[in-house]
């Protein structure tokens, strides 16, 4: 089957894709949604870092009388909850919890999922079959239910939450990496590397993994968003670390008094929404920046 795909034999006058030299960072910055995302995320990180500075006292402490509405008293700009705790303090301390859990659990999930996926994809055969059965098992179980069960059994704490979220989040990573590695394995430049006599390890390191990096990075940013949603949902149900004030807990605590004091649930929820939104926007920006849609790379 003949196929006349190629160009005439002169180098393309203009490079057919944005030159690889242009950094991904510059490409992201041209995406307005991603810029907004970065700004919001910076705000969240800033809040987390500044919390011990601006609100050195524990957010669990009662500082004023209960049920002060927001924007009425300067010292408690966002009001107080049913026990007189400062909402703003809770928000700032909660930022740290959510971001920490989100980030660490995602890293842990990647540490599990990437090697498993790479092995399954590259080695194929029985190893692939076994690993895929194992992954399917984890994907059948409803992930939130499993997280609840794990945290309940291990007793709620930051550590158990991170572990539980990591353990329910790794299957999609494995699937993605496996898929990418499989398609790369049959790509001609990988075969060329085999043929020129390079070791398996070198091939994985030099030819395969760098070309899977972009989808993993995009997935990772979306995973942090999902992890934060999971963490806040667990905290809402009362499975959060009892020593840490988190956004989900605040929403849960304000649930019973929602008619009188809407702000106790509104502000923490809004904080979760904005942070997760920001991460999603960044993920989309990364996707557009790292995966040029040109048919250059078949």
């Amino acid at each position: 089957m003949s196929r006349a795909i190629a160009m005439t034999d002169s180098p393309p006058a203009a490079p057919p894709a944005p030159a690889r030299r242009r950094s991904p960072l510059a490409a992201i910055l041209r995406h307005p949604g991603a810029v907004l995302g970065l700004v919001i995320l910076a705000g969240a990180i800033g809040a987390a870092l500044l919390a011990p500075v601006l609100y050195p006292a524990s957010p669990w402490r009662m500082v004023q009388r209960p049920f002060i509405p927001p924007f009425t008293l300067d010292r408690v700009p966002l009001g107080t909850d049913a026990l007189g705790r400062d909402i703003a303090a809770g928000l700032m301390h909660g930022a740290g919890v959510s971001l920490l859990v989100g980030l660490v659990s995602t890293l842990a999930a990647l540490l599990i999922g990437v090697p498993l996926g790479a092995l399954a994809g590259y080695l194929g055969g029985r190893v692939d079959d076994a690993l895929m059965r194992f992954t399917e098992l984890f994907q059948t179980v409803p992930s939130f239910a499993l997280a609840i069960v794990l945290v309940a059994i291990l007793q709620p704490s930051l550590g158990s939450m991170i572990l539980a979220i990591a353990l329910v989040s790794w299957p999609p990573v494995t699937r993605l990496v496996r898929g990418e590695v499989l398609s790369l394995r049959s790509r001609e430049y990988v075969q060329a590397a085999v043929v020129t006599g390079q070791t398996t390890f070198t091939i994985l390191r030099r030819e395969v993994l760098p070309n899977t990096l972009s989808p993993i990075v995009v997935l990772a940013s979306l995973m942090v968003a999902t992890a934060i949603l999971l963490e806040s949902s667990l905290s809402f149900l009362g499975l959060g670390d009892p020593n840490r004030m988190s956004w989900g807990f605040m929403v849960g605590a304000g649930r019973t008094v929602i008619r009188q004091a809407w702000w106790i649930t509104a502000f923490p929820g809004l904080a979760i929404l904005l942070t997760v939104l920001a991460l999603n926007l960044i993920g989309e920006g990364l996707n557009d920046a790292l995966n040029p849609r040109l048919s250059r790379e078949r």
Binding site: T8, R187, Q191, T196, R298
Partner: protein
């Protein structure tokens, strides 16, 4: 404003057509002032290399240009209508009824979720003709007319159940449903095997004669032009280079470009070559590989024999061609010899070493003795590594210092005709032909004894192809290499191979010197294959 009708006898009159590309393309206009007449009842071939704009012209006739390409000027007149001035409703009426089109890739040109008959009937439905029952009946009749087997049954089949040739017949049937006066065929046989191509070309010729249609046939293959064209139009970079009756343009071309293009097409007459008499460098014996797919608890698995007891040997300085159609197993044999896939049976010996017995580190070391040049210039170079890294990775993996490897790379680049500055650049900065040269340099960097070229020129334009083939011959002679040359193109094989092995369904059916094979083919399949190659008339002349 020219309100004249198209003169009688002219089906479509294209005047000064200008199609603009978006900013940043390699030229401002894909098609720049092209004019031609398509006469009723004739086959006009639009020929050109890739990027010449021939496909754009065809799409313009149907109003199917991609969104990025805009009409910047000119007119296309069909009867009383200027097609380019039509609105969407006008185009919908024109398409299928007055002009119909057949596309290049039969594998993807049909909706995978609809039955063939339904897709044919859709043509009538689009123009509000016939009742559903009548449409079904006409679909069966059309299937019969284009030579599809079991017409009643096949209209109920889905596209994936048909072969490439059958799908193309179905596409042609669809195009003819409303009996249009004009058929536009955009490289309809390029993606087909050579024997299937011959059948489809014959079908198109027969149908054209029977229905007296005007056919605009786009192709890059001069063999096809020889077999089918009444008139020829040569395009280059969006402009008409030459035009005239087929015999004139092919036999006595006036323009230098046309002459160069025709000269670059390899003839079917193999040149005389001295018989190689060096020592044997590679011996393949009894190579076999069977693929088993499917199968589960309820169904027997399907077996496909990719290679069946394949044996041959190469001497130093000799080129052996492995020729065959898709599914013949020639690419599988190449990969088995390279041990990219594991053979079930058989041995591959490089001199004294049995490559099939080696494993692990031993195999890795031995690999430097046999190297490969791949088919797809776009996929065979890692886009994230520089050319220098690509060429030196191999030697470095075998213990050569990075410095020495770089020196070797510079010398090799010069040999393949590239500048040393290429070392710092990335693959995407080079054209297809240049990338193939880099691939060749990469293969030679390990100083192998045997070179396996797997369809190494199939993805290149014919002029570039000629250059790369010459390069391979030179390098082979200079380094005393043996070459295993895989191709589906018999012309290329004739030009470059000492001996040729014809493969079919995993077996070698005939193995002879090139001269003998073309002069006296014995096996019936070989004879069919040779007869199907388009353009033999020109070789005889």
């Amino acid at each position: 404003m020219d309100q004249a009708l198209t003169p009688p006898g002219v089906a479509v009159a294209v005047r000064d057509l200008r199609l603009a590309l978006p900013h940043g393309g390699d030229r401002p206009n894909a098609v720049d002032g092209v004019s031609f007449d398509l006469l009723a009842g004739e086959i006009l071939c639009l020929v050109g290399e890739s990027g010449s704009g021939k496909s754009m012209c065809a799409h313009a006739l149907m109003g199917l240009l991609p969104k990025a390409v805009t009409v910047a000027g000119g007119s296309i007149r069909l009867g009383q209508t200027d097609l380019l001035a039509q609105d969407a409703a006008g185009w919908r009426d024109t398409r299928g009824r007055r002009i119909a089109m057949v596309f290049q890739e039969p594998m993807t040109a049909l909706n995978p979720l609809m039955r063939i008959g339904d897709q044919m009937a859709e043509m009538f439905e689009a123009h509000g003709l016939l009742t559903p029952r009548e449409r079904r009946a006409r679909a069966v009749a059309l299937a019969r007319e284009v030579g599809l087997p079991d017409p009643e049954g096949i209209v109920r089949a889905y596209p994936h159940q048909l072969s490439g040739g059958q799908r193309q017949r179905a596409m042609i049937a669809m195009a003819l449903a409303l009996e249009p006066a004009i058929l536009v065929a955009d490289e309809p046989t390029t993606a087909l095997d050579v024997t299937t191509q011959a059948q489809i070309l014959k079908l198109i010729r027969d149908l054209q004669r029977r229905r007296n249609m005007a056919v605009l046939f786009i192709t890059h293959d001069f063999g096809v032009v020889t077999d089918i064209a009444d008139r020829v139009l040569v395009l280059r970079q969006g402009r008409v280079v030459e035009e005239g009756p087929a015999a004139a343009v092919l036999g006595a071309p006036r323009e230098a470009y046309t002459q160069a293009l025709l000269a670059a097409v390899p003839a079917m007459n193999p040149p005389a070559r001295p018989a190689p008499d060096g020592p044997k460098t590679i011996e393949v014996a009894g190579l076999s590989k069977t693929y088993v797919t499917g199968g589960g608890w309820w169904r027997a698995p399907r077996t496909v024999a990719a290679a069946r007891d394949v044996s041959f040997a190469l001497r130093r300085g000799e080129t052996l061609g492995l020729v065959g159609e898709s599914g013949s197993g020639k690419s599988s044999v190449a990969r088995l010899v390279m041990r990219l896939i594991e053979p079930d049976l058989g041995t591959v010996r490089l001199g004294d070493t049995d490559l099939t017995r080696l494993n692990g580190e031993g195999l890795r070391q031995a690999r430097s003795r046999i190297q490969m040049v791949f088919q797809d210039p776009f996929a065979s170079l890692n886009p994230r590594r520089t050319v220098g890294q690509i060429i030196t990775d191999g030697p470095v993996a075998h213990g050569v210092s990075r410095f020495d490897a770089m020196e070797r790379a510079v010398r090799l680049l010069a040999l393949v005709g590239l500048d040393a500055r290429a070392l710092e650049r990335f693959p995407h900065e080079f054209s297809g032909g240049q990338r193939q040269r880099i691939g060749i340099a990469r293969a030679l960097a390990l100083e192998p004894e045997v070179l396996v070229a797997d369809e190494a020129v199939s993805a290149l334009d014919v002029s570039v192809q000629a250059q790369v083939l010459t390069l391979l011959e030179d390098l082979k002679a200079r380094f005393g290499l043996s070459m295993l040359f895989i191709t589906h193109d018999l012309r290329v094989a004739a030009q470059i191979c000492d001996r040729i092995a014809v493969m079919r369904r995993g077996e070698i059916v005939e193995l002879k010197t090139a001269a003998e094979l073309f002069a006296n083919p014995e096996h019936p399949y070989t004879r069919d294959l040779l007869a199907a190659v388009p353009g033999r008339a020109r070789d005889a002349a």
